[in-house]
Symmetry: C2
């Protein structure tokens, strides 16, 4: 447990124990431990002293909504986000998004993360796809408001513009979000997706109360062969988490900090070791920049 | 020769023959036929009726500057660009950039393409690296002016922000370029790097006479494992070349259209077949949007 994964380097600090105030706002996004079921992830968080979890809909469906909600509540965990709604560009996903909103409400989850979707098969109309995202969000807004769940538009790294997310910058996500009230439509700030964006610190300030989730992972080089699994553990790559995190806090964000690392080597490591590394990196690189007053969003 | 590479699909049109007006502005960037020496590429262009070549410095050095200049002139080719100068962020490259300007001048090449460079080893200071690029360009400007060679700032896809090019959007490149006269500092518009940029058509219009090179390749999915070799042949991917090319022409650009495809499968194909595919795709997808009056830049 005193070796970081997947770097196999010695841990730089002792692993914070459950109750350590530095863990107060750390959340585990389930995709960081993709080989764990939801019950395993819940038990893992409880054992590691991680107080919140970002839930994915596929493992949620495997466990069953009612059972999952009970289990999460019994473990005393918050649900920091539900991943994912959206995929607006490649067909009618309206029913699926309504189901996702119901699930988020049942989990007392504040935010449904919206992955915009890529270009439809054979299409080269990026502008049209972006328009479709704006329209679909507008259609979803009354339903989100009715359920008390905030929509979180996730701008995605341009590496995914063709096949996953046509909204490519925080500036562009805010242009979309600002057509709607901030308590209904927010934005997801993800370091992997946004670290390169010119002027991103100004955009984070502009986002202010629209920031509805803060997700962290690193940009590593050489980029792993599968673009979808190319995220690094926080601290292993090129992202300046100090500057980024301070900007998010200065913008008023007081929610959880979700570690979301899609990476084949992380997935191959034992879950408990992954969580221990996440806890150490969070305590070292993120917690010092978070206010101590606890979670208030 | 009637099969496109690397798609192995039947050619949709007959290969344009040398002298075909549709080829008037097609240029071969040498990296599209990376296994060819410079003399081979020059002979290949002449045989295919391609009137311009984008030269790379490494094969240029192998051939020798004087010999290369003579050979290119004897073949009646224009040099559309010299690749690459720059790499400003990772050490003192001043002498190397001055040498590159001399080479461009000797080749009567209008533009030295500047690859900005990535983050210095171990650095997470993206803002600082971007500042360094601005300073280094300013230092290079009087030397470029003295040699009559235009500096072409190449904004690069954010996939390369960490390790190759910290200038990530055309908007950002123009912010840098506009500190200098347009005849000395321009921008390189490359479809692969920029197709995803929100508002890119407006930025192309803003660029106007600053556009000093227009390079084309496609964005293909799934992305090949090596990010550096992930470019597709024009027409094989997701980019709308019609809209992009019209914007570049509407902005006033009258230079060559350089096909630049870094792709292992393209490199593995016979060079003549690669050039035939480039000629067909250019005639089909790009030439219809170019003015017929010929090259005037």
């Amino acid at each position: 447990m005193n070796t970081d994964v997947p770097s196999a380097t010695p841990a730089r600090i002792r692993t914070p124990e459950p109750g350590d105030p530095r863990l107060a706002r750390l959340a585990l996004n389930q995709r960081t431990t993709a080989n764990w079921s939801l019950p395993e992830a819940v038990r893992g968080c409880a054992a590691a002293g991680i107080g919140a979890i970002g839930v994915w809909r596929e493992p949620l469906a495997e466990t069953g909504l009612a059972r999952a909600a009970r289990m999460i509540a019994d473990a005393g965990l918050r649900v920091s986000s539900l991943c994912r709604g959206g995929f607006f560009t490649t067909g009618n996903t309206s029913d699926d998004n309504l189901a996702a909103l119901d699930e988020a409400a049942a989990l007392s989850c504040p935010t449904l993360v919206l992955v915009p979707g890529g270009l439809p098969e054979g299409s080269r109309d990026l502008h049209g796809a972006r328009q479709r995202v704006a329209e679909a969000i507008a259609e979803l807004v009354p339903h989100a408001r009715a359920r008390g769940v905030r929509l979180g538009i996730e701008p995605m790294h341009p590496i995914f513009a063709a096949d996953r997310g046509v909204i490519s910058t925080l500036a562009q996500a805010l242009d979309l979000a600002e057509a709607h009230p901030p308590d209904v439509v927010g934005v997801v700030v993800d370091t992997f997706h946004l670290w390169w964006e010119p002027g991103v610190l100004d955009q984070i300030a502009r986002a202010g109360p629209r920031i509805t989730a803060y997700q962290v992972s690193d940009w590593i080089t050489p980029l792993p062969p599968d673009a979808l699994l190319s995220r690094g553990m926080v601290g292993d790559g090129h992202i300046d988490f100090t500057t980024f995190t301070r900007a998010v806090i200065d913008a008023g964000y007081r929610g959880d900090v979700e570690v979301e690392v899609f990476n084949a080597e992380v997935w191959a490591a034992p879950g408990a070791q992954v969580l221990a590394t996440c806890a150490r990196r969070h305590a070292e690189l993120l917690a010092p920049h978070l206010p101590r007053e606890g979670r208030s969003t």
